[in-house]
């Protein structure tokens, strides 16, 4: 699960970077925001349990 969580963080970083790179482009920023919505969900469904 740690590997999966790392990959989710990578997606998050990429989506945030996209928003910065394309801040004048509505379509790209909106789609990057939608990716971040799913990052929120992915984090929610892969909680660290400490076990």
């Amino acid at each position: 699960m740690d590997e999966i969580r790392n990959e989710i963080r990578n997606i998050e970083k990429s989506a945030e970077r996209l928003k910065v790179l394309a801040k004048e482009n509505n379509a790209i920023t909106k789609n990057a925001s939608i990716i971040l919505t799913f990052v929120y969900l992915l984090k929610f469904i892969t909680p660290a349990t400490g076990q």
Binding site: M1, I34, T37, F38, Y40, L41, F44, I45, T46, P47, T49, G50, Q51
Partner: protein, 435 residues
Amino acid sequence: MDYWNRFTETMPREALNKVELEYFRTMFSYAKSHAPLYADKLKGIEAADLKTFDDIKKIPFTYKEELRKWQEDVEPFPYGGLLGVPIEEVSTFRQTSGTTGRPVYVPESYESWQWRIESWCHILWMAGFRPRHRLFLPFGYNVYVAFWEAHYAAEKVGLEVIPGGALDTKGRVNKIIELKANAMAGTPTYVLNIAQEAQAMGIDPKSFGIERILGAGEPLPEATRKRIEATYNCKMFDHIGSTETCGFAGMCEAQNGLHVVEPFFLVELLDTETLSKEVAVGEQGVIVITALGRRSFPVVRFNTNDVAIKGPDTCECGRTSLKLMEIVGRVDDIRKIRGVLFSPKTVEQLIRSEFPDIVEYEIVVTREGIMDEILVRVEVSPKLKAEDASALAGRLKERHKIKTNLSCKVKIEPEGTLPRYDLKSKRFKDMRGDH
């Protein structure tokens, strides 16, 4: 065994508790700092104080009436003090049915809606709905949430969805046949109405080829579930949810109770007397819910007024989540009649299990002088002869007395007299005024 999310659905109880406690603290802080209702309600309590589930039990409940109050003349319109995100982030309006009073307006942001849909995917998947299914939804969804949830979640799971709004019941029967739908979701009442309409058209509902049906919007007593399974030759599954909380528990293939979708929700089952202690397995408790990741409409310790029986810790499906064995009913629906506690669900259970010739019914309670009277109005199958209908009325009176400890009158009504319902049925009418 097949899961939507094996990781969370089979997580050991201890780990789930740890995750949910952490999620609760996060949602508690979020609600307090973003929704005026909770900024006010949770004053003086800090997330850092919430170290155990016993600490959580000190937090006051949220009641539906409060939700209404915080939307009356409170900006921003129409969500008032319940809104947990900037209003520009709200992407969808929903509302409660208004069955018990003024409707509550519910804001969903894109994120919160997707969170809600993800929870619903668990409900569909555990009930065996798969991408091979063509799902017919026999409703115009309007502003009510349940079938929007079913629609979006079914798409996400990979089913093919047929929206069946803007048709009458006959039109829906024809559409099911025309498109060879093999799955359906609906209120149990309306699912039975569709079958009745098909039979009136000379069509056996078994010939539809519907494999699975998910019940929504109404309680589903076991007898009604079995009757629908026999009528359609299918498997019927239940789930429970509400507009305020989302769909939060569903039935797995074992068809023995409802699994709470954890860790999306913290569900407390509290003793009906003091509402302060978790009940034991087999006991009845009031359902109190916190949605642990929905930020546009935070709901912390929402007292649903629904009563359920706590199920065992294990299930043959391997899920480790809290199980609700039976939804006993709403606290609001349970009435005292002639000094005896009466639940309309008992009568539904009786009619659906023992009286297959009753096609529709309604219970009316009135007060004549100082005496409460129960009248059960029934419509029977048109195939039944008059003398058989009269015998049925007599038998229903007897069985009602045995099941409820209350006598009743039974009136056979002409076909088509009683209302039919698409969404929530209202078959129980208490006309006493002071109940």
